[in-house]
């Protein structure tokens, strides 16, 4: 993608060239210099890197498994971390007070101020397989069993919200990446083919994409969801959601790529490749599509949130990932009742904040990428 044939290799200059004021820079260096200037984009990228890293080692970060219920702790509010002991001494590691159910009807819990439950790190807990293969039983943090700690509270089944959030990320965050990859591959290929070949292929593809774009998004998603049975197991729902979102997502991109290809295919280097007898699909793949890349990278970054939200909305409506598997959408579904919202607001804020931060980070990142990849940008400077 970043390879460039050395120009003028056929006729080397007779004398040694003038020493350059600055060493020549690869496109990657130029991009990075520009990108680093945008603090918001860097922050967005860092946050996303952290989220995805946590997602990968979810079983280690989560103190409990996502389906482990505690019948003593329904609707437990988030527990506060304390740093100062009752005696007034500061601790290096935080602790929590154990709680006890004061009012079972209202699910009111009170802290037992007399007892201190220090937070321990790398504690032994439920066994799991890291990355699906390595068996292990250590968790990032936890408290001495049989006590439990719920830093983000528990839901209506007494399941730990933090654990569900971290495991749920495995679904909610990957839907975006996988769905975007599939639909952008389709969109790029079909857009490239339509723009390069023209004629009947172009007409058919464009009419079909118009059709997809004239059905309001959510109505189309719901109608497509109807094609699959409502009571699918979670893994299959996950695949179904990806298929649905990819089926819709390619249309808009294909139309834009087609427009870019229409102008690119008249360029001299494409004519040269044709004259040299290169195959058409090879020309599309090697010479035309790489030139749409900077647009595609930005568009991809800015589209991923739409896929993440697609999963959230479907699961929120009860047509997506099913219990007990967690996803950010079906965690949000627990906050749908008025009682949950008013009495147990952490059911809204835990997944809500995660969704908000992810989308915000992708938007910041995409914005920074757009600035850094824009070839019209003056090198080195950032105009007002």
């Amino acid at each position: 993608m970043t390879e460039h044939a050395a120009p003028g290799a056929a006729a080397p200059p007779p004398a040694a060239p003038e020493p350059l004021a600055r060493p020549p820079q690869s496109p990657w260096t130029l991009f990075w210099r520009q990108f680093r200037k945008s603090q918001l984009a860097m922050a967005g990228g860092a946050l996303l890197a952290a989220f995805y890293a946590v997602m990968v080692v979810a079983p280690f970060v989560a103190p409990y498994s996502f389906e482990e219920m505690d019948r003593q702790r329904f609707f437990h509010p988030p527990q506060r971390l304390h740093w100062v002991e009752p005696g007034g001494r500061w601790r290096l590691t935080p602790y929590v007070h154990p709680t006890r159910l004061e009012d079972p009807a209202e699910f009111r819990y009170v802290e037992d101020r007399g007892r201190v439950l220090p937070l321990r790190f790398f504690v032994r807990g439920a066994a799991y397989r890291l990355f699906g293969v390595i068996p292990w039983d250590r968790h990032l943090f936890g408290v001495e069993a049989p006590e439990r700690v719920n830093l983000l509270g528990t839901d209506s089944f007494g399941r730990d919200e933090l654990s569900r959030l971290v495991y749920g990320a495995q679904i909610s965050l990957t839907v975006g990446l996988v769905g975007m990859t599939i639909s952008f591959t389709i969109g790029l290929l079909l857009g490239g083919v339509a723009g390069y070949f023209g004629g009947i292929v172009d007409t058919l593809l464009m009419r079909f994409s118009e059709l997809l774009l004239s059905i309001p998004g959510l109505y189309l998603i719901i109608a497509l969801r109807g094609v699959f049975p409502m009571d699918l197991p979670s893994q299959q729902v996950y695949l179904a959601i990806i298929v649905i979102l990819s089926f819709i997502g390619w249309a808009g991109l294909a139309r834009i790529v087609r427009g870019m290809v229409l102008s690119l295919r008249k360029q001299e280097y494409v004519l040269a490749a044709e004259a040299l007898g290169m195959g058409r699909m090879r020309i599309i793949a090697r010479h035309i599509l790489p030139n749409t890349m900077s647009f595609v990278i930005v568009a991809a970054t800015l589209t991923i949130p739409a896929y993440i939200l697609g999963e959230v909305v479907l699961s929120f409506l009860g047509a997506g990932v099913q219990e007990p598997s967690p996803s950010w959408g079906n965690m949000l579904q627990q906050a749908r009742t008025l009682r949950a919202l008013t009495s147990f607001p952490w059911l809204l804020f835990t997944p809500g904040l995660a969704i908000f931060l992810t989308v915000l980070a992708f938007n910041f990142l995409g914005d920074g990428l757009r600035d850094a990849l824009d070839p019209r940008k003056v090198l080195g400077g950032r105009e007002g």
Partner: protein
């Protein structure tokens, strides 16, 4: 202009035909149908189900079903019968579409009444803290999905008790006078309209800001300033009027996307609109209701885009339309 409108309207026909075919295909692909769900109910006679199957043509091959459906829609405006509601689909959808449009128009008002003044404000104070705050807020708005903003508003409304959190009318609506009826509707409308209206707000605001900044650089603005008009007159009488122009055409496009945007708000606020009907219909596999609602939502979207094109042609003399 008339031929242009006529031609564009004619172009709609194949599009609508395509949409109906696609929807029909999707419904046909769906496993089982409403009648097979009914068949699992031991209280219903198999003969009744067989009779219904014949009545709706479900025993014929799919292409005949589709042609039958098309014939009824185009000749009689008959969208079939809703299995689960025992009512004609057209009747069910007419009310729902009306409610969705009320919500969409109210949301559009929210968007425009906020976007234009805020955009002007940001442009006039370019690079000031006002501009920076607004631009940061618009990023935050852009990143708040409706599911979240909807639930957040329900949360606030439930805490304060200022607004009703579900439905479209109070229970004793029928007994109210005409003015109270309207006020009651408005009261119920506020929260969902804000949820839907805030989505496009950020984009519109940025556009208004950009347009005004462009206009402020033009020569006639310099002229207006040079002849001694005060800044207020220059901005509001000369600049803003011209900067709004491109935004007017966006109105149509917004209307279409608002119908889609209203979907989530309808579900969170129990607003009896098209989105709620659709999700209920898909769960009960009420196939004609699903087709009808998807078709209607698409018609609104397509018409919105069409109106936008007409407005563009009408507002911008540089565009020829023959």
């Amino acid at each position: 202009m008339r031929t242009y409108i006529l031609r564009r309207l004619l172009q709609l026909l194949p599009l609508l035909l395509g949409i109906s075919a696609l929807t029909f295909l999707l419904i046909w692909l769906a496993p089982g149908d409403f009648l097979s769900m009914m068949a699992e109910n031991p209280q219903i006679q198999p003969e009744t189900i067989e009779a219904m199957r014949r009545k709706f043509g479900l025993d014929r091959p799919w292409y005949l079903q589709y042609l039958l459906y098309l014939k009824n829609v185009f000749l009689h405006l008959d969208f079939g019968e809703s299995f689960s509601r025992h009512q004609p689909v057209f009747h069910v959808l007419r009310n729902a579409l009306g409610n969705t449009l009320i919500l969409a128009v109210a949301a559009a008002c929210v968007t425009w009444m906020l976007a234009i003044p805020l955009g002007v404000w940001a442009a006039v104070r370019q690079y000031s803290w006002v501009d920076k705050t607004l631009s940061f807020l618009s990023f935050a708005w852009l990143s708040t999905p409706e599911v979240l903003s909807g639930l957040l508003l329900v949360f606030l409304a439930a805490k304060t008790g200022w607004f009703p959190v579900s439905g479209m009318r109070t229970l004793d609506w029928e007994m109210l006078g005409p003015l109270d009826k309207a006020l009651d509707l408005l009261h119920h409308l506020v929260l969902p309209a804000f949820v839907v209206g805030l989505i496009p707000l950020a984009g519109r605001m940025r556009q208004m800001r950009g347009n005004l900044l462009d206009v402020l650089r033009l020569e006639y603005v310099t002229t207006a300033r040079a002849k001694g008009l005060d800044e207020r007159t220059v901005i509001f009488k000369h600049a803003v009027r011209n900067a709004i122009n491109p935004l007017i055409t966006l109105f149509g496009f917004t209307l279409g996307s608002l119908v889609s945007g209203a979907f989530i708000a309808e579900i969170i606020f129990a607003w009896p609109g098209l989105g709620r009907i659709t999700i209920e219909a898909i769960i009960t596999q009420d196939q004609y209701l699903v087709m009808g609602s998807v078709l209607m939502a698409s018609v609104v979207l397509v018409l919105g885009n069409l109106i936008a094109d007409f407005l563009l042609a009408w507002a911008d003399p540089r565009i020829t339309y023959d």
